[in-house]
């Protein structure tokens, strides 16, 4: 099998390499790719949308429809994971574990038992629970705000510099994932519950598709942001720029939330209890 695979792959690869012979050279400014459609974007973006970052403009406006489905893809991936892994019914164990927050002493309470009266000082833990590592926890707490600020910057500044909703969303999601890693899944869920995540990623796509639908209601084609000019009280070109910002925010929220829900599901195999 190994050799067969190798030979097959080798033949396939050589065929592909043969196929590149007639390709235009790397970076050839005269190749069809550089001369047919793309020059229009480069030259007209400022006029059409007043967004200096051409990639953002093409992404969210010229090919905004693709991007909406990109959001839908990530949305479906989120639902798919949830659908496949999430275990709705939890097995009830015969005992519960609690930890006294101040001292770190762990209690095991059998079925039917009750907590001591000062219940607020205890937190519930799992069988696989490990104590927080102080250094990691503190470092995480220290870094996370900066990551989040940076993420928001990347989303908001996508018009002028490399960045945008996806990149920002992923970074924002990473901050929550980092929190979940540095603490544990339960504390992450306390901060950002499953329902909230679900709310966010539907909100994100609602924003995107809703903006598009709004354009229909305002009499233009789907996703034609220039129609937003009438309700944003700006000229159509600026309206496009604003429209791009709105959908980028939507994308950012959706991507963030999906990253988090993917992490939650994959890491706990859908049980939402212990995780890494």
């Amino acid at each position: 099998m190994k050799w067969f695979g190798f030979i097959a792959v080798f033949l396939c690869g050589s065929l592909f390499i043969y196929g590149t012979v007639e390709f235009p050279g790397w970076g050839d400014p005269l190749s069809p790719t550089s001369t047919h459609v793309s020059p229009y974007y480069i030259e007209k973006t400022m006029e059409d949308t007043s967004v200096p970052n051409i990639v953002t403009a093409v992404l969210a406006d010229y090919r905004g429809y693709d991007t909406m489905f990109e959001t839908a893809v990530i949305f479906s991936a989120g639902i798919a994971c949830l659908f496949l892994l999430r275990q709705m019914k939890r097995k009830k164990t015969d005992f519960r574990l609690y930890r006294h927050t101040a001292t770190g002493i762990t209690f095991r309470i059998e079925k039917g038992g009750k907590l001591p009266p000062t219940a607020k000082e205890f937190e519930r833990i799992d069988g696989l629970w490990t104590p927080y590592d102080l250094i990691i926890k503190t470092t995480g707490r220290f870094i996370i705000p900066f990551i989040q600020i940076f993420a928001l910057y990347v989303i908001a500044h996508g018009h002028h510099s490399p960045g945008g909703g996806f990149q920002g969303g992923v970074i924002l999601g990473a901050s929550f994932v980092l929190f979940a890693i540095s603490h544990d899944l339960r504390s992450a869920l306390n901060r950002m519950s499953e329902k909230l995540t679900a709310f966010f990623y539907t909100l994100g796509v609602y924003i995107y598709a809703g903006t598009g639908a709004l354009c229909i209601l305002l009499g233009a084609n789907f996703l034609d942001y220039s129609a937003l000019a009438t309700i944003l009280f700006v000229d159509p070109v600026t309206a496009r720029s604003h429209g791009i910002l709105i959908v980028e925010i939507g994308v950012g929220i959706a991507v963030m939330a999906v990253m988090v829900i993917l992490y939650y599901n994959l890491v706990s195999a859908g049980k939402f209890d212990e995780g890494l």
């Binding site: 994971c81 659908f83 496949l84 639908a213 789907f222």
Partner: protein, 499 residues
């Protein structure tokens, strides 16, 4: 509003998917109704679109107000107009038909299930309607991803089968993407019709040839043409029944549509069909697919698995018919996309009904079904006759066109394969009829009084039966209106150059 129909078809289910997902958390019973309304609107819009196409030939919709090749445009013509209506109708009918079965199988996951369901429909319809080669890839991935998830929730070895489907599907889709990349290198454009206008100048280029080969390979994998079919039987066998009666009719058929679209509209017939040697070898490939699919179907011991192999053979019909490269053959292929989708829906819905009442779909479990579920089995008979190709069911007429195409092209191997497959189908389906009808053996003269017949009657609920009956009646209606379909729609879908 009617000018926005192309957007509605896709966008309404998409937005509905988000609502359904939200409703899944709030009140589960709403999910179904939201999905039903969304798909009904989608179906209505696609009908509207088809009517517009019949009037204006082509309907174009520019997303974001940007004209192609800079923006993404939807372009509906005769070819995808009809496929669109059929897909929307199938999605809607299946949704209604499987309500009970979804409630039974996914009690707690109704929200995600319907969200994925509707997203799958969005993806599939998007593939059909789009005029942008890259947009097609994105929509393809939506349809695939949701399909993986739906299949993965099935019984027995579903997860493993689905994972294998992920691997094959990703290779297929990636090959398609690569092929589009090659086309992009050669032309600098992503819009199908823009590419088609540039390509004739560079037909002799190696790059175009490679793009052609790679695209086609990817699509063959996606449509499960033999020998790239290995993912299909397992995936379809183990998948949950409400999902498979959606996925089986749509996925592979829509991929055949994509092949036809890419080859006719992007590469244009003058490139695709330029060499008879290539055409003939593709037809032979299809012949092998038909023969092997049929023979493998014979050796199966469970209903859904057998049907999956039958489908592999049916893929061969369409691919072979298309590559006959004559008018009758391509008409047959397009007609068979429609008919096969309807037939597959019918038989898989029946499989779903059976699984609703019976623990498994292996042949042992089918004993006495004619007595127990006469209506479902009645629909199954209609579906089976259609697959066999008995007039006046629709399967006969597409086979008719395919065979006349084969005769016209002088490709008697294909004709023989079609006849062989029909005969094998007779054996396949009558074997099931026999089991359902004869077994368990017993002296009916003594035991079979009228009262007892009524006692064992236990068909699927009415909500599942009525849509099934509509589908079964649709098979006959499609057959009777074949000529209308061909003369009003399909003949215009084929470019003029093909005789």
């Amino acid at each position: 509003m009617s000018q926005h129909f192309p957007a509605f078809i896709i966008v309404i289910p998409l937005i509905a998917a988000f609502f359904i997902f939200t409703a899944g958390w709030l009140k589960r019973t709403y999910c179904f109704y939201i999905a039903a309304v969304a798909l009904a609107i989608s179906l209505f819009s696609s009908f509207g679109l088809l009517l517009q196409v019949l009037q204006n030939k082509v309907v174009v919709y520019h997303f974001g107000g940007w004209s192609p090749p800079w923006g993404i445009a939807y372009r509906v013509d005769y070819l995808n107009g009809i496929v669109l209506v059929v897909s929307a109708a199938i999605a809607f009918l299946n949704l209604i038909a499987t309500k009970k079965s979804v409630e039974k199988e996914f009690i707690e996951r109704v929200g995600p299930f319907y969200a994925l369901y509707v997203l799958f429909v969005t993806g599939t319809m998007g593939i059909v309607v789009t005029g942008d080669a890259f947009n097609l890839y994105v929509l393809l991935e939506i349809a695939s991803l949701t399909g993986y998830a739906l299949i993965g929730m099935g019984t027995e070895h579903a997860a493993l089968a689905s994972l294998n489907y992920v691997f094959m599907g990703t290779i297929g889709a990636s090959f398609y993407l690569l092929g589009i990349g090659y086309l992009y290198i050669a032309t600098g454009s992503l819009n199908m019709f823009d590419i088609a206008s540039i390509l004739p100048n560079i037909f002799q280029s190696n790059v175009v040839l490679f793009a052609f080969v790679i695209c086609l390979t990817g699509l063959f994998i996606k449509m499960a043409l033999f020998p790239m079919h290995t993912w299909l039987p397992n995936a379809y066998t183990y998948s949950p029944s409400p999902a498979i009666s959606l996925i089986a009719p749509l996925t592979t058929k829509v991929m055949v549509y994509v092949m036809i679209r890419i080859l006719l509209s992007v590469f244009t017939p003058s490139f695709s069909f330029k060499s008879m040697a290539v055409n003939t070898s593709f037809v032979w490939l299809a012949v092998i697919a038909i023969v092997v699919g049929s023979i493998l179907a014979l050796s199966q011991q469970s209903l859904k698995r057998m049907l999956s192999y039958v489908m592999i053979a049916e893929i061969g019909y369409m691919v072979g018919g298309f590559w006959l490269a004559n008018r009758a053959g391509i008409t047959g292929a397009i007609l068979h996309i429609i008919n096969d989708a309807a037939m597959t829906l019918c038989v898989f819905l029946v499989a779903g009904n059976i699984l609703y009442r019976v623990p498994g779909d292996s042949f042992d479990n089918l004993k006495g079904l004619f007595r127990k579920m006469p209506f479902s089995m009645g629909a199954f008979v209609v579906g089976a006759l259609s697959i066999i190709g008995v007039p006046p069911t629709c399967g006969f007429f597409s086979k008719w066109y395919l065979i006349t195409g084969g005769i016209a092209a002088g490709h008697y191997g294909f004709v023989a394969a079609l006849l062989f497959s029909s005969l094998v189908n007779v054996v396949l389906f009558f074997r099931i009829f026999e089991i359902g009808y004869f077994e368990p053996f017993g002296d009916l003269h003594i035991s079979g009084s009228m009262d007892e017949e009524e006692k064992t009657f236990d068909d699927a609920p009415l909500g599942m039966l009525v849509p099934l009956m509509i589908v079964a009646a649709g098979l006959i209606a499609l057959g009777i209106y074949t000529d209308t379909l061909v003369t009003k729609v399909i003949q215009f879908a084929i470019p003029g150059g093909i005789s």
